[in-house]
């Protein structure tokens, strides 16, 4: 039997499986997982665009806004900056006890607090007055590229890789064999004149193509949507320097995540009847990656794919220690080591799966 024929068999099996993977009802929630971050970033981008457009009708010069200082009176501010975009007052006053603790609120005849908002073309400036004196001035960018990139890095590493790709691959790969066993159709493949390893390769290829397209495209789409509302000049500079590289590594890490998790779940579908238990165990293993010894970290898919991400995921320093330990990425590996390591992990797991598929028997019922 020639290698060319076996490769053709792999492709024939993959081609037939692709339709099943892409269009089965079970795949519906895989698309939801892949598109969820894009929807969130699209909502954020759209809201920012609308806000920018609304605020652009009344732009105050940056120098004027700069000149406003805490301690200025309402009249001074209005005189210099003109009427604000937003101007609201609050007549309710806090009544405090002897220790200065807030006891209750009571209605006052005169306004107690006043809030004004200005816009300098990029930033919104919130001014909070009490008794006519500016107490607090806060400037916030409507669109902050650096912040959005960090948020994207967090969403990508904490949600997309750890949950979306993980559960998406669980849904796709575990059903390649287990699903056919439940449908009582696996015998169709076992009766084909093809080695079981060829069948495994064909099914894995189908799952890999589908998951890489779904999650790789999902990552690229989300990245594109994150960039969409940003400032044009800033984007031009970004694309000239790191843009393409970041896009590539995000898509690549999602794709390599599919490669790794796909092999793990394909093997789990062959070895175990119930997918829930392996999913929970693998999820715990992957989640605890950050606190594992260095040697064990290398037996995790997450370790390698996180190493490929261009920006480290942000971590709130005030988060509980356990959360920080579980969520914080391990010491990253080099890109080459990460790719080779992931390929190595996938190869080992697929080899184990190929042994399992040779032993697999069709036993829908007993005659």
């Amino acid at each position: 039997m020639s290698t060319a024929l076996r490769l053709r068999q792999v492709w024939t099996i993959a081609r037939l499986q692709l339709g099943r993977v892409f269009f089965s009802k079970r795949s519906f929630w895989v698309y939801l997982l892949a598109l969820f971050p894009s929807v969130i970033f699209f909502g954020h981008g759209l809201e920012s665009k609308i806000r920018l457009k609304r605020m652009s009708s009344r732009v105050t010069a940056s120098a004027v806004i700069e000149s406003i200082r805490e301690g200025d009176t309402e009249e001074e501010v209005l005189q210099r900056a003109g009427s604000p975009i937003n101007d609201s007052t609050n007549r309710r006053r806090a009544v405090r006890d002897k220790l200065g603790k807030r006891e209750r609120a009571e209605e006052s005849e005169e306004p107690v607090r006043r809030y004004m908002m200005y816009f300098d073309g990029q930033n919104r400036v919130d001014l909070n007055f009490e008794a006519g004196i500016l107490q607090r001035k806060r400037t916030r960018a409507i669109l902050n590229f650096e912040e959005d990139r960090r948020v994207f890095a967090g969403v990508f590493q904490y949600f997309y890789l750890r949950l979306a790709v993980f559960f998406g691959c669980l849904g796709i790969f575990i059903n390649l064999f287990r699903g056919e066993m439940l449908d009582k159709t696996l015998h169709f493949w076992f009766l084909a004149p093809a080695r079981r390893e060829v069948l495994l390769a064909g099914k894995y290829l189908a799952g890999l193509i589908a998951s890489v397209l779904i999650f790789g495209a999902g990552a690229a789409l989300c990245f594109g949507i994150m960039l969409w509302p940003q400032n044009g000049a800033e984007m031009e500079a970004f694309w000239r320097t790191q843009g393409a590289s970041h896009l590539f590594w995000y898509a690549a890490s999602a794709a390599l995540g599919c490669l790794g998790y796909g092999s793990v779940f394909l093997a789990a579908g062959l070895l175990l009847r119930n997918p829930i238990m392996p999913a929970v165990v693998i999820l715990l293993w992957e989640s605890a990656n950050g606190i594992l010894p260095a040697v064990l970290q290398k037996l995790s898919v997450l370790y390698y794919v996180q190493s490929l991400c261009p920006i480290p995921a942000p971590m709130d320093p005030n988060a509980p220690l356990l959360i920080r330990l579980l969520a914080s990425p391990a010491e990253p590996a080099s890109a080459a080591f990460a790719v080779l390591g992931l390929l190595g992990v996938a190869a080992i797991v697929l080899w184990a799966a190929s042994r399992a598929v040779l032993r697999l028997e069709i036993n829908y019922g007993i005659d």
Binding site: T12, L16, H187, L191, A192, P193, E361, D367
Partner: protein, 310 residues
């Protein structure tokens, strides 16, 4: 040297603690072989073992010299029409047949041509491009048969292949089996319709509780059953006289004269002695029009060897 036989050597298969088949040793020659036994006797287990859908816990199997653990080679010469009703989701009848051919290395055009020919053979071409899920039971049976024969295999394994077929297709299918057997190929089938087994089988294998009860040609198997007297129907003009002559023989256990008084049902413990006695009666001038064995059929064998429900 590869011999054109299907060989089971001390094969046992257990499903956990449930017995599938136990220490089965068989040499199945080419021709049509029927597996006969009650539900749960192990017929499907034997067939699944032949094609490697399950593996024996003990013993070895060879299919015309090939191991069931090598589907790449085995399924090129073997076609299996299973009892499993389902096809991969969304598959049309045509795809169902053509896919196996493509995996077998046929080119797209050749696979399509062979699939078309096989589907025509089972009269399924009109519905070929509909999804298998929409087929009736009989249509599914036919499309499975088409898939099994599409690559012109040397061994056809068929689990209840005549179930759900209409009389015309049933007759054509039996003719197809005969054609295959005539070419020196194996046709191994299971059936619970014993009259059909009588008609189509070159040899039978009786199985019960996972064990082989008897195997061989129906007549040979019958001859080996000594506990039950052999039964013959004799058509003759002088039934009473012939009955009295036969009763003089020690080996005759029972004689019933038929209502029209032109026939006898005779039970004998010795076929050979019966044959001699009948020759003597004929030579003495009594006219015997015909003698037919009444229990050289699957129904009788089943009754004698297995008994109970079919």
């Amino acid at each position: 040297m590869n011999r054109p036989e299907v060989v089971f050597d001390e094969v046992s298969k257990f499903y956990g603690e449930v017995l599938g088949v136990n220490r089965v040793t068989l040499r199945i020659p080419s021709g049509i072989t029927s597996l006969v036994g009650p539900n749960g006797s192990g017929k499907t287990t034997l067939m699944n073992l032949m094609v490697g859908l399950i593996y024996p816990d003990q013993g070895t199997i060879t299919m015309r010299g090939m191991s069931p653990r090598d589907p790449e080679r085995l399924m090129r010469i073997t076609g299996y029409a299973t009892q499993y009703d389902a096809a991969p989701r969304g598959t049309t009848g045509f795809d169902f047949v053509a896919t196996g051919l493509l995996l077998g290395g046929y080119s797209q055009s050749e696979a399509e041509a062979r699939a078309t020919k096989a589907l025509q053979r089972v009269r399924m071409m009109e519905a070929a491009h509909r999804k298998v899920a929409s087929y009736s039971k009989g249509m599914r049976q036919r499309v499975r048969l088409a898939q099994a024969i599409a690559h012109d295999p040397e061994v056809l394994v068929l689990d209840e292949p005549l179930n759900g077929l209409d009389p015309l297709v049933r007759a054509e299918t039996i003719a197809l089996f005969r054609e295959y057997a005539g070419l020196g190929r194996h046709v191994i089938l299971s059936s619970h319709v014993l009259q059909e087994v009588d008609i189509i089988s070159d040899q039978v294998i009786l199985i019960a509780n996972g064990m082989i009860i008897a195997e061989g040609e129906i007549r040979t198997v019958r001859e080996e059953i000594h506990e039950h007297p052999s039964q013959y129907v004799i058509r003759c003009r002088d039934a009473s006289r012939i009955a009295s002559l036969l009763f003089e023989q020690d080996h005759i256990t029972q004689i019933q004269i038929q209502d029209d008084r032109l026939g006898l049902l005779v039970m004998t413990r010795s076929r050979r002695e019966f044959s001699r006695a009948l020759t003597r009666i004929s030579l003495a001038g009594h006219t015997v029009e015909s003698v037919v064995a009444a229990d050289e059929n699957m129904g009788a064998l089943y009754e004698y060897l297995i008994g109970g429900d079919r």
